[in-house]
């Protein structure tokens, strides 16, 4: 059997079983089905690794049927498992399995347990649809599907009105991006007459398409990517998406779904490689996002919000890499980020679980002794994201910084600054949570407990991956050859990815700077939050206030977009609906009443009158008949 059917089918089957029968099954069975279906997909993907890695046969295809046939345009339901797809599939299903396992304990007390697992499985299915589709239409289905699942899971605790609003915000922000993607797809159809990757990309590679057209298409696709991957200007939904249960934040809003924009760009590498203007825009948008989100992250006090802004910032790093044309580097950072950010989120979930749903880091502190495993793994995650030498984040971030250094020195300085901020806010989070004195009631501290085994096991696996993940793409100065991921992706790119030669001395200087950034960031955070034991104030003033209030971006959007929309709709409501339509509909009622009152006179119950009407009518009819016959 074609492996793609199984990879896609297992999560779908899990979704159907849990969704339809879940309410009748015991929780242990629901959790087992949910986890096993994703694990099954993971195993099947691993088993097919060898087939994909053959140089002569590096993709598996599955053409199911034609979805739509309009004149020359034929839209197919077709999939392909190639080097990029299998890489993404392994990330999605691998981390997905761990997070499913973790959720069994985390969501144990929840009434919507089966619903949660059904949604998670459906999310995995849609995400796989996104990466396995062999044309833009299939990708778009997955794209919309993950958006839907994200909406459902952010608003999972729908009884809280704010969570529902956060879900709607995420959905609407994503819709704005999706419009760009959709328009880009229309342009592709009009230009190339097909949506199949195998038709479109070779045509682009011939170079017969005008640059302005390619720029337009790539910019529109990038608009779609900014929505899904939370870049400026559409990033504000991601921090609010933390309303969902923590495993959801780890899986969807950190490790997988938000990287869909990067997947899209890497998939359309040939298109982006030929549109230099778009690359420049991507670079600066990514850079702006990386710096801005890191600044905001410095002043957040909700453990999940810090991680959310960190995600936005790291996604910015990835887009910077894409902007410089370092596609494999971006994918490398996607991978390592998936490891350590899933780890950090699950660690945060473990803290929240152990603290009985406390999320404010000002009320934490000193948890090191109470939660040794969570503490250790969280520390590893923090070190990895901050770029501690030889951990996964060090290699991937260093690669991005090197690529930017060769591209644009100003961008390099800004991005290095953002990396410094990353170290500071991550260690701020770590110190405030695990070190110092517990800052809440003492009897609450006694109740803090370490999480159960199937929550700590995923933490340990992810911690291990965060440590060794860098081995996936070791830099040239270590192995004296191309990194594994770089050579893995090489056959995929029709236009070879430009690899800048770099002087070894320069490279060592850059590594030195990276280490320096880490050390100074660590020392700054240690000085403020350990030596001085500063606790963030309720309301910061000045610059801190601006950061704490997230640069007032939400307020700005409210003023510029939401308020005018509300005013317009209220005007329409008062004027069109209130005056015109209301007058019409409510005018009918008195009219009917009047007619009724007139009719009542005729139908008065007096039988002689009825007979008289009858006779008159007959005479009239006969008369008319006589006259006109």
């Amino acid at each position: 059997m074609n492996p793609i059917i199984l990879i896609l089918g297992l999560p779908l089957l899990g979704f159907l079983i849990n969704g339809v029968l879940g309410s009748k099954l015991p929780k242990s069975v629901v959790g087992a089905i949910g986890t096993a279906s994703v694990l099954g997909a993971f195993i099947i993907a691993i088993l097919n690794w060898n087939i994909i890695s053959q140089p002569e046969n590096n993709s598996i295809h599955l053409d199911l049927f034609t979805f739509l046939q309009i004149d020359q345009l034929s839209l197919k339901v077709a999939f392909q498992l190639d080097r990029l797809s299998i890489w993404m599939t392994l990330i999605i299903t691998g981390i997905g399995t761990l997070i499913h396992l973790y959720s069994i304990s985390y969501m144990k007390e929840d009434d919507g347990f089966y619903k949660f697992f059904a949604y998670l499985n459906f999310f995995i299915f849609n995400m796989l649809l996104l990466v396995l589709g062999s044309n833009f239409l299939m990708m778009f289905f997955g794209w919309e599907g993950v958006g839907l699942c994200s909406y459902l899971l952010i608003g999972f605790w729908y009884k809280n009105e704010d969570y529902g609003k956060a879900a709607r915000k995420a959905f609407i922000m994503n819709r704005i991006g999706d419009l760009g993607l959709l328009l880009g797809m229309f342009l592709i159809i009009s230009q190339f007459g097909s949506l199949d990757y195998s038709v479109v990309f070779p045509q682009i590679a011939t170079g017969n398409t005008s640059t302005s057209m390619l720029t337009a298409i790539s910019l529109l696709l990038f608009v779609g990517a900014t929505g899904k991957s939370a870049q400026i200007p559409l990033f504000t939904w991601l921090p609010d998406a933390m309303a969902g249960p923590t495993p959801v934040s780890a899986l969807i809003h950190a490790a997988t779904m938000v990287t869909a924009g990067i997947y899209l760009t890497v998939r359309c590498q040939v298109l982006f490689a030929l549109s230099p203007l778009t690359n420049e825009i991507i670079l600066w948008v990514g850079l702006g996002t990386a710096v801005m989100a890191a600044l905001i992250g410095l002043k957040q006090n909700d453990i999940k919000k810090v991680l959310a802004y960190s995600t936005v910032s790291q996604l910015g790093f990835m887009f910077v890499a894409l902007g410089t044309g370092a596609y494999s580097t971006a994918l490398f950072h996607v991978t390592t980020h998936a490891f350590f950010k899933a780890l950090l989120f699950l660690g945060a979930g473990s803290v929240i679980h152990g603290m009985h749903h406390e999320q404010d880091i000002r009320h934490m502190g000193g948890l090191k002794s109470k939660m040794p495993l969570t503490h250790l793994t969280f520390l590893i995650g923090t070190l990895a994201i901050s770029g501690f030498p030889l951990l996964s984040g060090f290699f991937s971030k260093d690669e991005i910084l090197t690529a930017v250094f060769l591209h644009n020195k100003v961008a390099y300085v800004l991005l290095a600054g953002s990396a410094l901020l990353t170290t500071i806010y991550m260690f701020r989070l770590y110190f405030l949570t695990f070190h110092g004195q517990y800052r809440n009631h003492h009897h609450a501290f006694d109740k803090v407990h370490e999480s159960p085994m199937n929550m700590t096991l995923p933490l340990m696996v992810l911690a291990l991956l965060s440590i060794v993940g860098g081995a996936l793409n070791l830099p040239t100065y270590v192995t004296h050859s191309d990194g594994f991921l770089l050579s893995w992706l090489k056959p995929l790119f029709i236009i070879p990815q430009s690899i800048h030669e770099i002087n070894h001395n320069t490279e060592y200087v850059l590594i030195g700077i990276a280490v320096l950034i880490f050390v100074s960031g660590f020392l700054i955070a240690r000085n403020i939050f350990v030596s001085k034991a500063t606790v963030p104030a309720e309301n910061s003033t000045g610059l801190g206030g601006i950061l704490q209030n997230k640069f007032y971006v939400d307020e700005f959007y409210n003023k510029v977009f939401v308020r005018p929309l509300e005013i317009t709709s209220s005007v329409l409501h008062d004027l069109i609906d209130g005056l015109i339509l209301r007058a019409f509909t409510f005018g009918i009622f008195p009219m009917l009443k009047l007619v009724g009152r007139l009719n009542k006179k005729v139908q008065n119950g007096n039988i002689e009158m009825y007979l008289l009407y009858m006779v008159i009518a007959i005479v009239l009819l006969l008369g008319v008949n006589l006259i006109f016959a």
Binding site: G605, N606, I607, E608, L611, V615
Partner: protein
């Protein structure tokens, strides 16, 4: 006896049945007693019967379709009178009168 009828023109029948029908009609319209009303309806029906019989003879129809029709009308009229009178009996038992104005009690 038959000769007497043969001497009558068709127009005489028409006049007679018109008069009978009109008497019935005006009775229906202006009398309030339900029994009289039913009688007037019978009168109208029978005036039509008379006309049908006369025309059958006048047209010389061998199958006597018109006269067959008269029988039908008589049967229907009998059934109608039976139902009408039954209703009337019930009405009388409840209201102690046979005035048709009782029907306006169905008003709101």
């Amino acid at each position: 006896m038959l000769n007497v009828f043969h001497n009558l023109e068709i127009s005489h029948y028409i006049y007679l049945s018109t008069v009978l029908f009109s008497i019935g009609l005006f009775g229906v319209l202006f009398r309030r007693n339900a029994i009289v009303l039913l009688m007037c309806i019978e009168l109208m029906l029978n005036s039509v019967n008379l006309l049908l019989a006369a025309f059958t003879e006048y047209m010389g129809d061998a199958n006597a379709n018109g006269q067959m029709f008269v029988f039908f009308i008589m049967v229907v009229a009998a059934a109608e009178a039976a139902v009408g009178l039954a209703i009337l009996v019930m009405v009388y038992r409840n209201t102690r009168k046979t005035d048709v104005s009782f029907l306006d009690q169905l008003k709101d």
